[in-house]
């Protein structure tokens, strides 16, 4: 150590900044079925449901951090995900081709690797 002026900028870190996006348009995804406390933009009714990526909106400051006065960095990739209504609401009264779409941040999504998903767009 050389005292208070030690250069720590060259120290290595295992942290990797969010590299691009994990999912592509058309990918089948599942919304995580988790219920952490705090400010979340993932509606309860969609947690645990399966859908298809409709579009990639870009990266946005993380609202779960912004809500508490942090700067929202690193930004999180935001997707629009399409779900069939009959999958989201088993008692849905309308036809099977009706859909609901919403924005889900990447860290709320995981690949849907079921053989035959419910969520055909």
């Amino acid at each position: 150590m050389t005292g208070a002026g030690a250069d720590i900028s060259a120290m290595r870190s295992s942290y990797a900044q969010a590299p691009g996006h994990r999912f592509n348009v058309g990918d089948r995804v599942a919304v995580k079925s988790v219920f952490p406390p705090g400010h979340r933009r993932t509606p309860w009714y969609i947690r645990g449901k399966h859908g298809v990526i409709e579009r990639i909106c870009g990266a946005f400051p993380n609202p779960e951090e912004l809500a508490y006065g942090f700067d929202g960095e690193p930004a999180k990739v935001l997707y629009r995900v399409r779900f069939t209504q009959k999958h989201v609401w088993p008692g849905y009264q309308g036809p099977g081709h009706d859909v609901i779409e919403m924005e889900i941040f990447e860290h709320w999504l995981e690949p849907d690797d079921r053989a035959d998903g419910d969520a055909k767009p």
Partner: protein, 220 residues
């Protein structure tokens, strides 16, 4: 800042709600958020960051200019297919072409077709394309609309007088995060040759949220 609670309670309400509509916030003492908002504005004024007139002007824009922007943009899209394509690709950039700056709002335009009808809601709060449509109507913010439109959209549409056959896909958009939405309704056939200004006249707020479809006056 040692003013009492009563000081804030007695200040006139000069902001954006319609005083003819019964609203619970006007019935009791101001909410904590209302007091915080007031206090913040006073601080900003005291520090010279904003003036009361700037705030007033902003509210006026929301009420007198912004509500008509959506109709203008969609009327332009109806008459210019290349513009419509750009509007569907990047709503904010397309609005900017028309001199309409949406500031922080990211806009997604969704197009109604003979096969698909689009409908906008925000179940978590009441996100709304304010820079394009002004302040959201009371029903849009109501718990009734926000909770029901996601699971029985066709019943809600019926209540707005909009009947859709089963072969039309109802596509509900929950505006739950950073994007804002506007519907591009189908242009009625009988409006051929209309000017953009005249077209904008039938593009009401409700048609751009998707709870109804444009109607040509005098036609049943």
């Amino acid at each position: 800042m040692t003013k009492s609670f009563d000081y804030y309670a007695k200040r006139p309400h000069d902001h954006d709600h319609d005083e003819h509509t019964p609203q619970s916030e006007t019935e009791g003492p101001p909410s904590e958020f209302e007091i915080m908002s007031r206090a913040m504005q006073e601080l900003l004024e005291a520090k010279g960051v904003v003036t009361a007139d700037q705030v007033r002007r902003r509210i006026e824009l929301f009420e007198e200019d912004f509500p008509y922007r959506g109709g203008r943009v969609v009327a332009h899209a109806w008459t210019d297919p290349a513009f419509k394509k750009r509007l569907l690709e990047d709503g904010r950039a397309a609005c900017s072409e028309m001199g309409i700056e949406l500031e922080a709002e990211r806009l997604i335009a969704v197009e109604n077709t003979p096969e698909v009808h689009n409908l906008i809601v925000c179940t978590l709060c009441s996100c709304y394309p304010r820079a394009l449509l002004g302040m959201p109507p009371t029903w849009y913010k109501s718990r009734n609309y926000r909770s029901r439109v996601v699971f029985e959209p066709r019943a809600v549409l019926r209540e707005f007088g909009t009947l859709l056959p089963d072969n039309v896909t109802v596509r509900v958009h929950d505006s739950n995060a950073d994007m804002r939405y506007v519907v591009i309704p189908m242009r009625p056939k009988s409006t051929e040759g209309w000017s953009e200004e005249r077209l904008a006249g039938i593009l009401t707020r409700d048609t751009l949220v998707g709870v109804t479809v444009p109607e040509v006056p005098g036609k049943e």
